[in-house]
């Protein structure tokens, strides 16, 4: 069994480097609920990585308080703290002289686990990240593709089952296809594990795709908006956030809505010749399919591939309107 996430709180956290006029991170407060994946998104140099690294004390805060599961991080011994926080970086940093197994076993060994338990855990983790243990356990990092290395990196970070994971642009160095695949697998993994994850990226689309919540950060890590992807897209707090959301906010929002969410699907009549979409795909995919096929409607198929109904442009537009007005009321 795995340990679920715990709450992380940042309270007026500041990092001031000596001989610099302005703090790199200025007075940041954030409350990260247990088991959620929160994305820090912002331009390069805005302090998002610095903010994250203060949580495992790779960077020491100048002032402020950080708690993980109610425990004051600054009162713990840094190395002991770090064994309880999974850490994944863009360059992965696998140890090239160790096998996959030994890479994953580093922290369990540090914690004094016995051999049998380590072996079980390594295999379990490899399966979890979609690598066949018997084929990959004894491989060396140089015998792995970039995507496989990143999976091992995630497995290594999960080795001692930490409640918290920090991920610094983990998929940033992979090609678009691999990245998409890794993101999907990671979402599936997180659904199961419910760790508390802080994920740093400068890619807003990635933030929308992965985040339960997004913290849009401006200079000095000032929190411009901290909300769910849907609400940030529907109601950006200010011009800065709007700029970061970029163009086609409505289209991006559609990406968050499953076709299956559409209620009152139109009667199935005269559907022959219409393109189809699976119910677990999103409204953006449905729109794309319609545009490509040059039709104004698309047939929704359920998991078994049987038609469930028909949706059209109006339904999608209506869904978006509903969502915007719902968010407007919440705010």
């Amino acid at each position: 069994m795995s340990e679920h996430g715990v709450r992380i709180q940042l309270d007026r956290v500041t990092k001031q480097y000596p001989r610099q006029p302005e703090p790199a991170v200025d007075n940041v407060s954030l409350d990260i609920p247990a088991g959620e994946l929160v994305v820090f998104v912002g331009p390069s140099g805005c302090g998002k990585t610095t903010t994250m690294k203060m949580i495992n004390r790779l960077i020491e805060p100048t002032s402020g308080e950080i708690t993980i599961g109610g425990e004051n991080v600054l009162a713990l011994e840094p190395n002991e703290l770090r064994t309880r926080i999974g850490y994944v970086i863009q360059q992965i940093g696998l140890f090239p002289h160790m096998t996959v197994r030994d890479n994953i076993a580093v922290v369990p060994r540090l914690l004094g686990w016995d051999k049998a338990r380590i072996t079980r855990r390594v295999d379990e983790l490899l399966e979890l990240v979609g690598l066949d243990p018997s084929a990959f356990r004894d491989r060396l990092p140089k015998q792995l593709s970039g995507g496989q290395q990143q999976r091992v990196g995630v497995a290594r970070a999960l080795a001692a089952d930490p409640p918290v994971m920090l991920m610094d642009e983990p998929f940033g160095a992979t090609d678009p296809i691999t990245r998409d695949k890794l993101q999907n697998e990671f979402l599936r993994l997180q659904k199961e594990l419910r760790k508390t994850i802080i994920f740093v990226t400068h890619d807003f689309d990635e933030a929308v795709k992965l985040g339960d919540r997004i913290a849009v950060l401006a200079e000095q890590s000032h929190v411009a908006q901290y909300d769910t992807p849907g609400r940030i897209l529907a109601a950006p707090a200010n011009d800065y956030v709007e700029g970061f959301v970029g163009s086609a906010a409505a289209i991006k929002q559609l990406g968050l809505m499953h076709v299956g969410m559409l209620t009152g699907l139109a009667e199935l009549s005269a559907t022959s010749g219409l393109p189809t979409v699976r119910s677990r795909e999103n409204a953006r995919d449905a729109l794309d399919i319609m545009l490509r096929a040059g039709t104004s409607h698309v047939v929704v198929l359920d998991e078994q591939g049987d038609p469930r109904g028909v949706i059209g442009f109006e339904d999608i537009a209506g869904l978006l309107r509903e969502e915007v007005s719902r968010v407007g009321q919440d705010a």
Binding site: N79, R82, Y87, G93, P96, H97, L110
Partner: protein, 215 residues
């Protein structure tokens, strides 16, 4: 006497001197490797201290070997002790320099990952950096060993062990019957030993380098 007759007659002596030559070199290299790796491990992080360590060992290397041995006589007497001290001093430079270079060559992201996992600096050094730096360090040791086979010859000057005795006594008795044979046998012995050890290092390097970083 022909050279081959000479070799035949003096084979036992030559073998003993060669064995001692090898022993004194191995002993010195082992000590120098331990010392050099420790010095490198303590200083690699700071430009200033590693610069000081490399600069000092480079300066030591410039002391003429005869002078260094002569200086050591009042302190350590004759024989093995001054020989080993001198040889250790001379082999520090390649070992310290390569240790520092090797430890520094480990990618920053690997060190960050190690630290982020909660490994203490000593453990990072022992489990990650030293294994990764090993091919570079062992190359330094190999260079040092090559140098020492030649320099160890001078040990005969302080009544130390090795093939130097053969060469020195040959040179001292120039013109007499076996003088040339002696000098040639000693020199050839040193060259052969150095070549053999160079080959040996190719194997040592290959079998002590972790599989994952072998090229």
């Amino acid at each position: 006497m022909t050279f081959s007759r000479y070799l035949e007659n003096r084979w036992d002596d030559l073998l003993e001197q060669a064995t001692q030559h090898v022993l004194v070199v191995i002993l010195s290299v082992v000590i120098a490797t331990l010392a050099g790796v420790v010095i490198g491990a303590l200083t690699w992080r700071s430009d200033r201290y590693s610069g000081l360590a490399i600069g000092t060992s480079a300066t030591l290397l410039t002391i003429p070997s005869l002078a260094l041995l002569a200086l050591l006589i009042p302190l350590l007497g004759l024989g093995w002790a001054p020989t080993i001290v001198a040889l250790v001093v001379y082999s520090l430079l390649p070992i310290v320099r390569n240790t520092v270079a090797g430890l520094r060559s480990v990618d920053a992201s690997i060190l960050e990952a190690a630290k982020g996992m909660g490994l203490r600096p000593a453990r990072v050094l022992w489990r990650v950096q030293l294994p990764m730096a090993w091919p570079v360090i062992i190359t330094g040791v190999r260079v040092a060993t090559q140098m020492l086979f030649a320099i160890a010859t001078i040990a005969a000057y302080v009544a130390g062990p090795g093939l130097g005795n053969e060469i020195f006594s040959g040179l001292a008795r120039q013109g007499s019957a076996n003088a040339l044979n002696q000098a040639v046998a000693g020199t050839a012995g040193v060259v052969i030993l150095a070549l053999l050890f160079d080959l040996l290092f190719v194997l040592i390097r290959r079998y002590t380098t972790p599989r994952g970083i072998r090229v």
